[in-house]
Symmetry: C2
Subunit: 204 residues, 2 copies
Amino acid sequence: MNDKKTVVTISREFGSGGRHIGELLAEELGIGFYGRVLIEIAAEKSGLAPEFIKETEKSAAGGYLCDVSAGFGYSSTAYCAPSVQDQVFLTQSRVIREIAERESCVIVGRCADYILRELPDVLHVFVYGDIEKRTERAISAYNVPSEKALEEVKKRDTARAKQYKYYTNHIWGDMHNYHICINSGLIGIENSVKLLRIAIESRQ
Amino acid sequence: MNDKKTVVTISREFGSGGRHIGELLAEELGIGFYGRVLIEIAAEKSGLAPEFIKETEKSAAGGYLCDVSAGFGYSSTAYCAPSVQDQVFLTQSRVIREIAERESCVIVGRCADYILRELPDVLHVFVYGDIEKRTERAISAYNVPSEKALEEVKKRDTARAKQYKYYTNHIWGDMHNYHICINSGLIGIENSVKLLRIAIESRQ
């Protein structure tokens, strides 16, 4: 493995601009950015339609709680039969591990911090912000209708928290799972990228 | 008010090295550092013994819940009679506001983020770390006996959380109260200082 490889995972509250920060960071560093494209890759590998995977990601996960890092089958507690959502998640997890072991990259969402928790030298980041600023961004950057924006922000955060809890058994947004947490609404997008570049240097 | 003033508050989990990060940051920037010295200043202003204030700070606060930003007296809910602990806290709060309005500084602990929440251009920081690393630091840097270190770390964190909740009615360590949260155990002390210098620039 190349010691100089840079792998960054970014988890983020909805509307915080975490994905945009990840894109800018990857661009500045000249490394791969993996966000929604993971849906296409997982679709290709699993034979499921990309649109189905996208909808699965948006809603909270259901089904049996298993240790995804060990795969499915007989766990210490019970036999777990993977649901279609679980299969999607497992496929994405395998893809994320393959990418992170192969190349420098920025990966946004998809519980990547948990999936790569044992890979050394990965920088795990959480991007968050006040709900008012995130609601504004949902309207301006994601074209969410203003009358539904606050509700949408809360709904998407809840779905992310439920999915994270289901697949990792950890609390989404617990700062102890990350090296650094940035309030993008107060720090700003460009400055968040600057901070992450310094944080990356500190890991190398 | 001088627009170029730099005011940083650092809240921190016990054993995270947050105080040391604050000292180094203040030294590099050539600005005042206010940590334990606030005890001396508050003692001088209140007529209470510094040792008494120190002990009061270590233990969790008790008494009536009031809005400390408004001072004591008739609140919207009830009449609040300040306890001695409350008087100490109020005196320190006044001192913190006076300092932050007067000069560039780094202030560690003492709910300074809450006390200065309405002062513009202040950078609010939370420093945290895995409990194992913080326990090691408690032993090596604060000379806590190793057999008591884990218990001491938990006890001091609990006291800080209770005091913060009591005086601010907010949750201690909720990332939304801060601009940036740094896992000092993973990022390192020196690199945390570097990150904070970039974060300060972003506020100016």
